[in-house]
Amino acid sequence: MGKTEGCKGLTKKYLPLVLTPKEFKFLFFSKVFVSSVLSVLSVANKGFRMQKYITEQNLNTLLDKLIAEGKRVVAPRMNAGTPLYEPLKNSGEIIIDQLPRRSGKEAFFPLCEDIMSYTKEGQKVELKDIDPSRFPETVLVGVRPCDAAAIPVLDAVFSWDYKDEFFLERRKKTTIVGLACTKADDACFCTAVGLSPSDTKGSDLFLTPLEGGGYACETFSDKGETLINSHAGLFSEPNNAKTVALAEPGTEAFDLQKVKAWLDEHFEDPAWDSIATRCVGCGACAFVCPACHCFDIVDEGTEKSGKRRKNWDACGFWKFTHHASGHNPRDQQPKRYRNRIMHKFKYYDDKFGQTLCTGCGRCIRLCPVGIDIAAIVEEISKK
């Protein structure tokens, strides 16, 4: 899943200030190796409530049983050649070794969802509400640490002040089964933003693949324990098998405080023009991001009847902030890209004390013009 050579060429040609992940790897390999080993050791095996073991076969049996119980089991599956987190029909569909194209957020915050419907009869309008209590009990399985960690980050925005029950009800009804990550490519940078391939943040139950097969299971919440206890026969006591080699993303930890300190003082800075002059405003970065959560509200229907929907949106689109008058506070692409960086590494921190990036690297892999957020943040941290 690495970036194409074409993208790298672009990066070098048009953005000499910013290094590609490959170049970082070269520059910081020794430091990275030490820091990632340390972070794995410091995060893994801490704070769990219960430890068990499950074989691959029993994991599949568990998924089938959950489906048979009427639960929505969402896991990486192939959809027309694209791996996505989607509801499984049976356990045979799971492709647990592939990182889905889009993140796990859509199990809580769908790409597009109805928030009400309307019918018109003469001058009268009738509204029909959506009943979130009808959202199904869900088990989200095989979630990479970068995806799972973003979910508690999103809790902040959807639950402060007004409560978004569309997100929160799904959140309440979903058990998250995280999976330690064994494959990193040169776009991965979870270790740079304080996470790791074995980070359990956001997971109710966490699986770590073991040498010789099967998974070590650790629970971190009541939901995780309930999942094990209600299917206790499929789990056995932990054995002493060694963990398989986990991924080692090739970026060193960013000094996020230093990054924020620079952003605090440099809303206006010539660097923004060089950072994002290439951005074409396609919005792909926001759509694949596990933490981006901006949305639009639109009506879809006719004069007579239709639905009101909440759709994903992106601050990279020119229309995102475009006023009806024609005025646009973010009238150029670099201003829109600046908002993306500011929101992730400053504004969300100012408001909720958290960083809105988990280093999954999807935006780097998919950017059609090779913009590399990890390289940009690294560059900022050195200013």
């Binding site: 509204l127 002040d161 978004d164 949305f295 509200i297």
Partner: protein, 282 residues
């Protein structure tokens, strides 16, 4: 039927269009009455707050609540028809249904204005966000000192609330200074001719024990703030309301921010001091 005791924060109340008033060739006021009697009684708002208005099938638009909280039983919105939703809202006739979500955002700290003189400075379609406060203060007239209103538009026909301008002009307890841009006046025009900042400077309201409330297009604000400073107003004495593109109005959808300030939650009412501390992104 829609149940408002539920928790869907995106679900609007239904209201009926009770009156349609054309303010200018493309600006219209809708007077709205909530269909649910309970909502009609319980819908409380403060001057400066905004709402999301639905034209079902087209979507929602964000405007201030233009009527005064002292006038009970109805609300008014005032908008220029410039886009898909506002054009659909403009098609609504008396008796038609409209959706309203709100009230949202902060408000003018009117209690702090008591005993003070007030200077309202507005340009064009930006009078409605101040008109709610003007009537609020006029309805409690004895609580405030001198009230001055400086209002201008490009042309005579672009002035909104023409009937009320006349009413304010005829009241002995309000000083109205109305103006149109050079070239925007007919031979019968009895007001001033000139841009709002210039006319404000000529009108020269005193800054002592006075609050200035400014609302208008960015260019007007830009040239009005230095005039107020010249007249002796400090940045804490000057209030404005910002109007950014919004969708949710609830601090979730992520588009109305100016730097880390969310206009929908932290605003829309700000002092000039707060505005000057923001990055230039509005």
């Amino acid at each position: 039927m829609c149940d408002h005791t539920n928790k869907n924060i995106y679900l609007p109340y239904l209201a009926t269009v009770e009156e349609v008033i054309d303010e200018t060739p493309d600006v219209r006021t809708l007077k709205l009455v909530f269909q649910d009697e309970q909502v009609r009684d319980s819908f409380n708002f403060r001057a400066g707050q905004f709402a999301e208005y639905s034209a079902f099938g087209a979507g929602e638009s964000t405007f201030c609540i233009a009527s005064a909280p002292t006038r009970k039983g109805y609300i008014e919105c005032c908008f220029r028809s410039v886009g898909r939703v506002t054009e659909e809202l403009r098609r609504l006739e008396v008796g038609d249904s409209i959706g309203v979500r709100g009230p949202y955002g902060n408000s003018f700290p009117i209690e702090q204005f008591e005993g003070k003189n007030l200077v309202f400075v507005a340009g064009g379609i930006a009078l409605p966000p101040l008109r709610t406060l003007i009537w609020n203060c006029l309805d409690l007239r004895e609580k405030f000192g001198e009230i001055t209103i400086v209002y201008g538009a490009r042309t005579e026909s672009d002035l909104v609330y023409k009937r009320e301008l006349k009413e304010w002009e005829e009241r002995g307890d309000v000083r109205l200074v109305k103006t149109v841009d050079p070239g925007g006046n007919s031979s019968e025009w009895d007001g001033r001719v000139g841009f709002v900042p210039t006319i404000l400077e000529e009108a020269a309201p005193g800054a002592e024990n006075t609050i200035a409330l400014v609302c208008g297009p960015p260019i007007m604000i830009k040239f009005t703030l230095p005039v107020l400073e010249k007249l002796g107003f400090t940045d804490e004495q000057v209030y404005t309301t910002l109007e950014n593109r919004m969708k949710c109005g609830l601090g979730k959808c992520g588009r109305c921010n100016v730097g880390n300030v969310y206009v929908c939650k932290d605003g829309p009412v700000f002092t000039a001091k707060q505005v000057k501390a923001m990055p230039m992104e509005f």
